[in-house]
């Protein structure tokens, strides 16, 4: 191997100009000019001059001008002007520049040729990466692939990949968490297709398979391709069932070094603050609803008592204006046989909750070395480091809305009180508690490409990724308390989670064109993957110093309980063989087929291997002779269809196939009488567990009209997941609790529409629009284990979700809240279940003269509803007695709404006027419900505790006495008769629809003439904003959030009080040299 490299390096083979990129030529210009200019002049050369501009009229600095079929070339100067000598009038000049569509002009008798190069970003000639060395022109796709390019990313100013993708691709639902500085979000491609873990897409970053794309700086991304259908993704067989996101990072190009530097500063405030009680209102509540004595604020207060006369606005105390600085530098360039790209990014985000911040450094180094035409080495090195302090939401944010506003949060000594009237002081928790997470990430990838024959290329790559997430937590004594109210000891811990993953890939790509019009591309190869995860956690108490966090300062915690001291290890490996065939005839009939065979260590010997197939066809009907009549307005029309099967091996446990003897804490108790426990693991191994597979069918049409100015792509898909992974409950009497099984099926279907257009393109003004719309149905569970339904969280009583055959994922399963009984006697029902209207109600509300059933006097048998064994009274919730048995219980729960948006869309508009450019993206979701768990929990807290406070809405709309018309049950009833029904109360199922001005950016590009005075190639300054306007009916912070935790695929749309989103505005400057 080495010998080959050396030979090639020493004796570079012949190279033809056609094989070189424009940029390599650019580099060679001085040489070429020296070599050829003299001789060319001798042959009655014609001297041509001209100016090259883009479609905005800007000079294209550095554009390449080349005489076709020769090595004569030059480049445009800073004014876009060029001069070139051509041998004769028949010569053809080729004008090109990266990102612009090349143009050819025959010289003829002209001596001055001015050209305008059009932007090619919306062009169908764009090359799409399909994986394993495969690329295809976008116009030749057979499957469904959505793309986002560097230009679009740049306009969005994203921090995370989720930002970059939101609202950009049809069929890709991004739930963004852009308030939380360390937050990411979730990406769901074409609906939820699994019941288990591994619901997220697969990320392929520069050919390397990843389960996430965290710590990738969006500014370093050259392009994102989202493979939505099975035929496209089938080459990634295993784990591709939920779609594949292929990310290609930027590489350098040969030529002078380009330095791109940018700085942005962003301010952010809470986007949607919720109302809280003032001190005055809080006292009113105490007196009116809690009926407690004066010392607790129920009556007249001692007006000189500091402690009782505060007026805390916790929102102001806990939240602040966020400040975020982002610095980004990228240097790229190259010389003959070698290119490089280095990106460095630093973010310092002081977020909206006091004491919460992150700092992140990311760097990417891409170096390609090509000693000969045949041999190329690509090296990629990435490093990231992030540190930050996260604020525990449960003890801070949520508490804003239910803490006592009139009790001082400070101690007489001036320090922060740990407790604010028997409840945690959220300010003290935010300030005093340490919750620091540090992440180190390093990745090295090297790929060798060797052209064995001009048509046959071999690529082999090795990638290793190391990451370490370490956290330091510490709760000082000052804010720790024991259950009896005194100070308990401090508690801290250090965790470290080290992951080492490596991948080896080797594949061959073959391209053969025969009989002029037939193109055949073949790809075949194998890959191996290994992942190892080792974690450790050290817990301490009784710290001798609260300034030092190492374990020697405290007492080591045992292996169980809070902050235990433990280590753990797990790992998996896969092996794959894959192949792809692509054939096209005249680019009119296109056929692709892929096959992949995957083996995963997550399955037992019998079912280790899974085979996955995909095929797609496309027919460019616009090229057919019979379509000639439409040629004038239809530039390109293609019909495509694909079908394929994909796998998923992401079981919740890497060893679900084998019976394990577990030790220590996994057995419930880690030891008995000093001896460590060993027992059969509660998750019984299933030796026949096998691949979950998703078959998806896709039909789409690609239409390009109006001379390429409008493209329109409608698509329809059907996605069926079979052999669903599911953690089945075993009968308790077996002693085991669960086992992994393949059971059931999920059906998803939807339609997607993508439209891009250039309504106005003129010298000074252009308007580009890119829009996508997705219509989908919530995933339907078509089959379940023996038809047995289950509750994803809790049991039949407590679970707000219910998964049953024929149901949908994300269905809310709740008791229907129909209001509040006005009088005790209002709880009277006719035999048929109609609620009767009492007439002539007595003063005490317990008796009525008569009853009306829908306005008609009713004298028949009446009954009253009961819950928890008691008859419901005035001021309690009117629950729907679904089965009309007179008792409100589990069996009255109904499906009330679904958390899956039925429709979502995104529109991005870009306006350019001379040097100004305005881009904005609007996105929206409709038809989904959100469970406002935070409000429901607050209500439950208010019911259970004297010390929690309700919302202002509650204060004004609660029931106090017979005859009150109210929204909320009387708080004195607490939850005894289930009036709160936390988590299962339809009152809190709210409309989750929204329309959002997700981002906007106004850029001023400095005239290159001025820019060049400071030796810059371009300078742009911009103002921009994120999450600027939102229209929503939701009463919580925001209807858009990602659902975290176990089983998150099954529990979407439950808002437990997420980090509130922020509205952001910022300025930035971008300079390139």
């Amino acid at each position: 191997m080495e010998k080959i490299c050396t030979q090639n390096f020493l004796k570079p083979g012949k190279r033809s100009a056609s094989g070189l990129t424009a940029f390599r030529l650019l580099l060679m210009i001085p040489v070429l000019l020296l070599m050829f200019s003299a001789s060319l002049y001798a042959q009655s050369a014609i001297k041509i001059t001209g100016t090259i501009v883009d479609n905005k009229g800007e000079p294209v600095i550095g554009a390449t001008i080349k005489v076709k079929g020769t090595t004569i070339a030059t480049a445009a100067d800073v004014n876009g002007k060029y001069t070139i000598s051509v041998p004769n009038a028949q010569a053809v000049l080729v004008f090109s520049y990266i990102g612009l569509t090349s143009k050819e002009e025959t010289v003829g008798n002209r001596t001055s040729i001015n050209v305008t190069l059009a932007d090619n970003s919306t062009s169908l000639n764009e090359v799409i990466v399909t994986g394993y060395g495969g690329t295809v022109a976008k116009r030749d796709l057979t499957g469904s692939i959505g793309t986002v390019d560097a230009a679009a990313i740049k306009e969005r100013q994203p921090v995370t990949l989720e930002d970059a993708l939101e609202g950009q691709v049809a069929g890709v639902l991004v739930e963004n968490d852009n308030g939380d500085p360390a937050g990411t979000g979730t990406i769901t491609i074409r609906g939820m297709g699994t019941l288990n873990s591994g619901a997220g897409p697969l990320y392929v970053i520069d050919g390397v398979i990843n389960t996430d794309a965290n710590f990738l700086n969006p500014a370093d991304i050259a392009s994102i391709e989202v493979l939505k259908d099975a035929a496209s993704a089938a080459i990634y067989g295993s784990r591709a069932a939920n779609g594949v996101i292929i990310i290609t990072t930027k590489h350098g190009v040969e030529g002078k070094p380009t330095v791109n530097a940018s700085y942005t500063h962003l301010w952010g405030v809470i986007a949607h603050a919720l109302p809280t009680l003032s001190a005055e209102q809080a006292r009113e509540y105490r007196a009116k609803d809690k009926n407690v004595n004066a010392t607790l604020g129920g009556g007249n207060l001692d007006s000189v008592n500091h402690y009782l006369n505060a007026d805390n606005n916790f929102e102001e105390l806990l939240l602040r204006t966020a400040n975020k600085n982002t610095y980004n530098v990228a240097i790229s360039g190259g010389q003959k046989g070698m290119t490089y790209y280095t990106g460095l990014n630093y973010i310092d985000d002081q977020s909206i909750v006091i004491n919460s911040y992150i700092k992140r450094v990311q760097t990417t180094i891409n170096v390609s070395y090509q000693p000969s035409d045949k041999f190329k080495v690509d090296n990629n090195l990435s490093f990231a480091y992030q540190t930050g302090n996260t604020i525990p939401l449960g003890t801070t944010i949520q508490q804003i809305y239910e803490r006592n506003p009139f009790i001082s949060i400070y101690l007489p000594s001036g320090g922060l009180a740990a407790y604010n009237e028997s409840k945690r002081n959220p300010v003290a928790y935010a300030m005093e508690q340490t919750n620091q997470a540090k992440t180190y990430l390093g990745q090295y990838n090297t790929a060798l490409t060797y052209s064995i024959l001009p048509e046959l290329k071999w690529t082999s790559s090795f990638n290793i990724k190391f990451s370490n997430l370490s956290t330091q937590t510490f709760t000082p004594t000052a804010i720790q308390t024991s259950s009896l109210g005194g100070n308990a000891t401090d508690l801290g811990g250090t965790t470290s989670d080290i992951k080492v993953e490596w991948q080896l890939q080797s594949f061959l790509n073959y391209i053969h064109v025969f009989a002029k019009y037939h193109t055949l591309k073949l790809t075949g190869g194998f890959s191996r993957e290994n992942s190892q995860d080792n974690s450790s956690s050290i817990g301490d108490t009784n710290y001798l110093s609260e300034l030092v966090f190492t374990s020697n300062v405290g007492t080591l915690n045992p292996s169980t309980g809070t902050n235990p001291t433990i280590t753990n290890a797990t790992g998996f490996s896969t092996e794959s063989l894959f192949g792809r065939v692509e054939y096209n005839y005249k680019e009119r009939y296109i056929l692709t087929g892929t096959v992949r065979r995957d083996g995963s260590s997550r399955f037992g010997p019998e079912n280790k291997w899974g085979n996955f197939f995909g095929t797609g066809i496309a027919w460019r009907f616009s090229d057919e002779p019979f379509m000639a009549w439409a040629k004038k307005w239809l530039d390109d029309g293609k019909l495509r269809a694909s079908i394929g099967t994909l796998g998923n091996d992401q079981l919740s446990n890497n060893y679900a196939f084998i019976n394990q003897i577990a030790f220590g804490a996994s057995n419930g108790l880690s030891s008995y009488a000093g001896n460590t426990t060993a027992a059969l693991f509660y998750n019984l191994g299933n030796p026949i567990i096998k691949w979950e597979s998703t078959t998806s069918t896709n039909i789409g049409i690609d239409l390009t009209t109006l001379k390429g100015r409008v493209t329109f792509t409608p698509e329809y898909y059907i996605k069926n997941t079979n052999n669903l992974f599911y953690t089945a409950n075993l009968p308790e009497e077996t002693g085991a609790r669960t086992t992994a099984v393949n059971v059931g099926a999920i059906h998803n279907t939807g339609a997607e529409f993508t439209l891009t257009g250039e309504p106005i393109v003129s010298k000074n003004f252009t308007w580009l629009i890119s829009a996508n719309l997705t219509l989908q149905k919530p995933a339907t569970v078509t089959e379940l284990a023996g038809g047995v339904p289950f509750y994803p969280t809790g049991n039949s009583t407590s679970s707000p979700y219910y998964i049953y055959q024929g149901g949908h994922i994300g269905d809310f399963f709740v008791l229907k809240n129909q209001g509040i009984y006005q009088y005790d006697v209002s709880n009277n029902y006719a035999v048929n279940g109609d609620r009767l209207t009492p007439v002539g109600v007595s003063a005490n509300g317990t008796a009525a003269a008569s009853f009306l059933d829908n306005g008609v006097p009713y004298t028949g048998v009446r009954h009253s509803l009961q819950r928890n064994g008691a008859v419901l009274k005035g001021g309690e919730v009117i629950w729907q007695d679904t089965n009309n048995d007179g008792t409100i219980d589990n069996s009255d729960k109904v499906i009330d709404g679904n958390a899956t948006p039925k429709t979502y869309w995104g529109v991005t508009n870009t306006f350019t006027y001379k040097h100004f450019m305005l881009t904005f993206t609007v996105n929206a979701q409709f038809g989904n419900k959100v469970y406002n768990g935070m409000a429901n929990t607050q209500q439950a807290d208010v019911a259970n505790s004297t010390y929690s406070f309700p919302t202002p809405d509650f204060l004004n709309n609660t029931w106090h006495q017979q005859g009150d018309i109210a929204k909320y049950a009387a708080i004195t009833y607490k939850d005894t008769n289930g009036d709160i029904s936390n988590g299962i109360n339809s009152f809190y199922v709210e409309d989750g629809s929204f329309i959002r001005l997700a981002s906007a950016k106004l850029t001023y590009n400095l005239d290159p003439k001025f820019a060049s005075r400071i030796f810059a190639r371009s300078v742009s300054i911009y103002v921009y904003g994120d999450n600027l306007l939102t229209w929503a009916n939701y009463t919580g912070f925001d209807p858009e959030f990602s659902t975290l935790g176990v089983n998150n695929a099954l529990t979407p749309g439950f808002d437990n009080g997420n980090y509130p989103k922020r509205r952001e505005g910022g300025i930035g400057v971008n300079i390139s040299f």
């Binding site: 191997m1 064995i452 024959l453 046959l456 024991s482 009896l484 109210g485 308990a488 080797s506 061959l508 194998f526 191996r528 045992p558 169980t560 309980g561 753990n568 290890a569 797990t570 790992g571 490996s573 896969t574 092996e575 083996g599 995963s600 260590s601 280790k608 890497n654 060893y655 084998i658 019976n659 003897i661 577990a662 030790f663 996994s666 057995n667 419930g668 108790l669 880690s670 030891s671 008995y672 009488a673 000093g674 001896n675 460590t676 426990t677 060993a678 027992a679 059969l680 693991f681 019984l684 030796p687 409950n729 009968p731 308790e732 009497e733 077996t734 002693g735 085991a736 609790r737 928890n868």
Partner: protein
């Protein structure tokens, strides 16, 4: 061209070598597998710990303020009885237990913890005999000792299932393949007692090496006998359902069971106590039980107590706070000592047990919410002084102790007509408490003697998970509980089918062959 061929050949070779699929197999890194375990004496120790740990966490557990929870030692044996009432901070679940309104979603209605313990016992029984094949240092005696404990533990778990639900599915072999049928119908209480519980106890007794000094945290010779005696006492008196979901009727057994209980207790007297080098329990006098001065020793330090037989070990450093629902660690326990007992027992000022059981001087909402019995705390005032340290107290739940056996013995003797000896054993306990001896004239017949013994048991064994079963066994639930429930505003306890708990909805959902208990539909 030649070079191209060479290179191509080379590459293909690399390609094939790489794809030469080494089997993609990974084994767990933090666990052993069933096939590689049970090969050393350490494995036996750990597997036994796993079994005991499962039982412990079923009976007593941390964070028990939510009542039921897995603090089943109290839920099953105590808090349904006249010993406890709802405090000012009950949960729906705990209140329902107190008030005979138990729902099928009550955490303590779930028998999963017991079946988990049974499955661990089953796995041990199937595998421990093979250990000597791999480790020749493991003696047959060691194997027998381990096997005896597994059989006895299985019996104890099924005994709870019999008493709490009136029977359940019977599993006597480990369940290892989830693809084999995992659902079985329930068998009746009688079948459980006769087909598993008694045979297992007989096997355990046969296997256990005799007259060896046991460790109090593990089931030894004495514990096997004590459990067996309890089983026969239950069999003799408790009304049981003859079919799993049928109504309860009379007891299975009768007089002969009392006789068998006596036999087992006499066997127990021959076995050795865990403490020190002393002789067997003997069971002949008050000298064999703790003295008046050291009464609390058996709760605070069972290994050193001469009357300890089997206690559950709690290690706060590993298991966390033993925050049992009647503990001293929490200010808002869901239960309190029932008002009747709280007022009446302290009237007996000579009884040294009262103030060591709870602090009768506390008034208001905290009255009776802290049971001091398991803790080395003199009174509520002393408790306040231990703030911060309270969570580090261990709770050693007593499964069996000699005082309990004495009273059981007295009861069995009484039932079989030996009143003088019954009174003798009753008085060992009664007088140890600082009370004057009960005169034979005060307990002239079996009924009065029975009542006196039952009263003594309530005081002596308060909060030891016995009271409810005593009430059921002696068929006194209705008489004792009805006035209390009526006083709390609930219906009297007339339906003896409610002696049983309902089958948990979770268990029913997972096993279609289960039938709900009679009158719980």
């Amino acid at each position: 061209m030649k070079r191209i061929i060479t290179i191509t050949a080379l590459l293909i070779a690399v390609f094939i070598a790489g794809s030469c699929t080494k089997d993609v197999t990974k084994l767990p890194q933090n666990a052993a597998t069933v096939n590689t375990y049970f090969q050393t004496s350490k494995d036996i120790t750990s597997a036994l710990s796993g079994m005991y740990g499962s039982f412990l966490s079923t009976m007593v557990s941390t964070g028990g303020t939510n009542g039921g929870g897995s603090n089943n030692y109290f839920a099953w044996g105590e808090t349904r009885s006249d010993n406890f009432a709802p405090s000012g901070y009950p949960t729906t679940a705990t209140e329902n237990i107190n008030n005979n309104a138990i729902l099928n979603n009550n955490a303590s209605a779930d028998w999963a913890g017991l079946y988990q313990t049974i499955s661990r016992a089953n796995l041990n029984i199937a595998n421990i005999p093979n250990v000597p094949k791999y480790d020749n240092t493991v003696t047959q005696t060691a194997v027998n000792t381990a096997m005896a404990q597994c059989y006895a533990m299985r019996a104890e778990c099924y005994f709870y299932i019999a008493r709490v639900w009136g029977g359940g599915p019977m599993w006597t072999a480990p369940y290892l393949d989830p693809n084999s049928p995992g659902i079985k119908p329930r068998v009746s209480e009688q079948v459980l007692i006769d087909s598993v519980i008694i045979p297992d106890l007989n096997k355990a007794y046969a296997l256990i090496p005799k007259s060896q000094q046991p460790t109090v945290w593990y089931i030894g010779e004495g514990a096997i006998c004590a459990i067996a005696a309890d089983v026969y006492m239950w069999r003799a008196g408790a009304p049981v359902a003859s079919a799993p979901n049928g109504p309860v009727s009379g007891p299975i057994g009768g007089l002969s069971d009392y006789q068998t209980a006596i036999t087992w207790i006499q066997r127990l007297f021959l076995s050795r106590a865990p403490s020190g080098t002393g002789p067997a329990y003997a069971g002949t006098s008050a000298a064999n039980i703790e003295s008046t001065a050291t009464w609390k020793n058996v709760f605070l330090n069972p290994p050193s107590s001469l009357e300890a037989i089997w206690s559950l070990n709690w290690d706060e450093t590993v298991n966390g706070c033993a925050c049992i629902p009647i503990s001293i660690q929490n200010s808002n326990n869901p239960y309190r000592v029932d008002g009747g007992l709280y007022v009446n027992w302290p009237l007996n000022t000579a009884d040294i047990r009262v103030k060591q059981t709870f602090d009768p001087t506390v008034t208001g909402t905290a009255a009776g919410t802290h049971t001091l019995k398991y803790f080395n705390v003199a009174n509520e005032a002393a408790l306040t002084a231990t703030i911060g340290g309270a969570i580090s107290f261990n709770v050693y739940a007593v499964m069996n102790r000699l005082s309990d056996v004495y009273l059981t013995y007295a009861e069995a003797l009484n039932q079989t007509g030996d009143l003088p000896n019954a009174l003798k054993y009753l008085n060992f306990i009664h007088q140890r408490a600082g009370l004057p001896a009960i005169l034979a004239s005060a307990v002239p017949n079996t009924a009065t003697m029975q009542a006196a013994i039952l009263q003594e048991r309530q005081w002596e064994l308060f909060a030891e998970g016995k009271r409810w079963f005593d009430l059921v066994r002696t068929n006194t639930v209705s008489a004792v509980m009805s006035p209390i429930l009526v006083g709390r505003g609930f219906a009297p306890f007339t339906d003896l089918n409610k002696d049983y708990w309902p089958i948990s909805i979770t268990a029913i959902n997972a096993n279609g062959l289960l039938t709900q208990n009679y009158n719980y539909h």
